[in-house]
Symmetry: none
Subunit: 207 residues, 4 copies
DNA sequence: GATGAATGAGTGTTCATTCAT
DNA sequence: AATGAATGAACACTCATTCAT
């Protein structure tokens, strides 16, 4: 490893430490209540050093947004095509969110409490990226309608609301109550519950 | 009408005007970006007068929260019992939110973007009120399970996520895209779509 | 009594009520902490009415100052000449302050805590009036020196500090501890103690 | 000197500079009229920096109060015991105040005009510290009464009023008239005058 | 006279950002 | 790179004063 590479790597690490600290602080206090001083203290570095790695508070926030949306976009761009059935595809979507929450609860917390709804933080640019998720799921559902595996009498958009709303509600509740999520088994149980209702409905099987 | 009553009424009106102005400004810019000066200007009154009617910015915000939650609580406490079937009850819930959005889009907007998820604004007290909605719907669903009108093999809590998540997603999307909602017909179509998926599922009827 | 006189009298009474209220409130909270609203409430009248009787807060304060200094000036101008001896004259001065404190403790309180020392309130104009007291006592003492009834080897000005300082300390202590003063007997005991020390000194009579 | 010590020392110096600036500004305009901006300008630093060193305006004021009372308390606790006679002890008290006024006229000015009498600024806590001075002098005088060096027929408390009142009046006058005090000779003349009157009285020696 | 709503200048405090070392 | 002192714009809140009724 060249000195240059070492240097670069050290930089990456420190940046990641600040990033994580920001996640924790913003999760705890919200974006507006989170002060740069809090983040520096949480990261164990000096006040001014944050500005060496992130040009401003909003740039630091942008990095969180970017981290989140890029993960979502990888899912949307490359994570669904390998599945055949709509059940698998939507299962992969649900899995993705639950998996993210297990691995990076702070980031998911922040994504839910700070950027997915807040007027102040949801810039037009971010809104566009947010809507891509809706559009992609809608598209997947519409294709399934074409193939006859999803009912055609309800607009794909509405079916999207039901499905993504369920995932979002579940995550939101866990986030707001600070419930941790542990293990694939639990994840699958949750995903299964949502998928079952979504596909088969809440009405008991008659007979 | 006595002078005292007139006075009182005038006070109510002015307070409502400030309330509405606050709604619009907070909807537009978010709570933290909304300056008291903006609200005063929007209400067409002087800076200091806001403080005649609301003791502080956070008290003004509390009033919005109160207005919203008290409407929700009326629904929860008195709005569902007169219905017999689970379909009617959940239909009433969906109707309520769509109706509120039609009548008071600013307040609903603020409720979604500012207090239902934001860590900074969601005080423990508000979280409790927020969770009452979840609990009530869960209770209604559990009763329906007991009566055999909702499938018993999925926890009521998960079914609640699906139903309320659908409503929330729908509203959130309309709110974030500033889509107006007009007329009972449109409301019913939306509610019907959600209820149909929720009860019957997305899977096409086989055969 | 003509209607005009009645009117005038009513005005006087109301003004006096506001004056007294101001005394009490300013005594309680200090001039800067005393709000016009507090004074109006204490006087049992409406907010704006204070401005019918006193043009501004500082005018109201001026009225208190005036009331106090005019009493002092009556003492200085007409209250001492009828006495012959220096003992009687200084006794009259001590008596005056103790008597005022008994009769109008609020006004004396305010005079001590708000205008005799406070930089912010002691305008040049008021300082001049304040110094007249010092000068008058100094003059009285100097005359006594000339007549051989006060020792000549210490500047009259310094003797003035001792005498007035003693009176001021006594009053200040009573004021700061909210001690009431009741009856001529108590007044005379206090005055006597101060005069005895002042004239005869603290040293025990040798032999 | 280690870097850390240098740093610490620099901090102390800057803090002292702000302290002194606050003294001057508060002396000039009074506590309430003194704006933080004035103090910053007087100290030659930026607005916000004052808050780096003192958390709030009232904390800054507290620092002045503390500085003054701690000096007084050193006198009371350790400054009088080494003297034998009551003349020496009270002389030390008078000397102390005159010495402080010569060395730190601004602080003494502020102590007289802002915290020794003002209702608004004299918190219960400060009142207690203020009364310790009275109590200590009273105690010293009482001991002298027991030893026969102060007349026993007048309450020690009243004799305290005469002595401290004299010192206070002298200082107050100098402060209100902005008279500087220079040199030990002048100090001694003033102290001597007060002590002479206090001990021997104003009455000329008969015979 | 009497009321209290209305006005807006003034100020303490916060905190993102910059900069000297 | 690293530190933390320094800067100053921004903003909530107060309250003396005015004014319409």
């Amino acid at each position: 490893m060249t000195p240059r590479e070492e240097n670069h790597e050290a930089r990456q690490e420190k940046q990641a430490a600040i990033f994580d600290a920001a996640c924790r602080v913003i999760r705890e206090k919200g974006f507006h209540q989170a002060r740069m001083a809090d983040i520096a203290r949480e990261a164990g570095i000096s006040y001014g050093l944050v500005y060496h790695y992130f040009g401003s508070k909003s740039e630091l926030f942008d990095a969180l947004v970017e981290e989140w949306f890029s993960a979502v976009e990888i899912l949307l761009d490359r994570g669904l095509d390998r599945f055949e059935t709509i059940e698998e595809k939507l299962g992969a979507v649900a899995d993705f969110f639950l998996d993210q929450y297990e691995k990076r609860p702070d980031l998911v917390h922040v994504s839910i409490t700070e950027f997915s709804r807040s007027t102040g933080n949801l810039t037009p640019d971010r809104l566009v990226r947010f809507k891509r998720l809706l559009s992609k799921v809608e598209e997947v559902i519409r294709q399934a309608q074409d193939q006859g595996s999803i009912r055609p009498d309800i607009k794909a958009r509405y079916q999207t609301y039901v499905f993504l709303g369920a995932v979002d509600s579940l995550l939101s509740t866990m986030v707001l109550e600070n419930q941790p999520l542990k293990g694939q088994a639990q994840r699958q149980r949750l995903a299964q519950a949502i998928l079952t209702i979504f596909f088969d409905g809440a009405r008991p099987k008659s007979g």
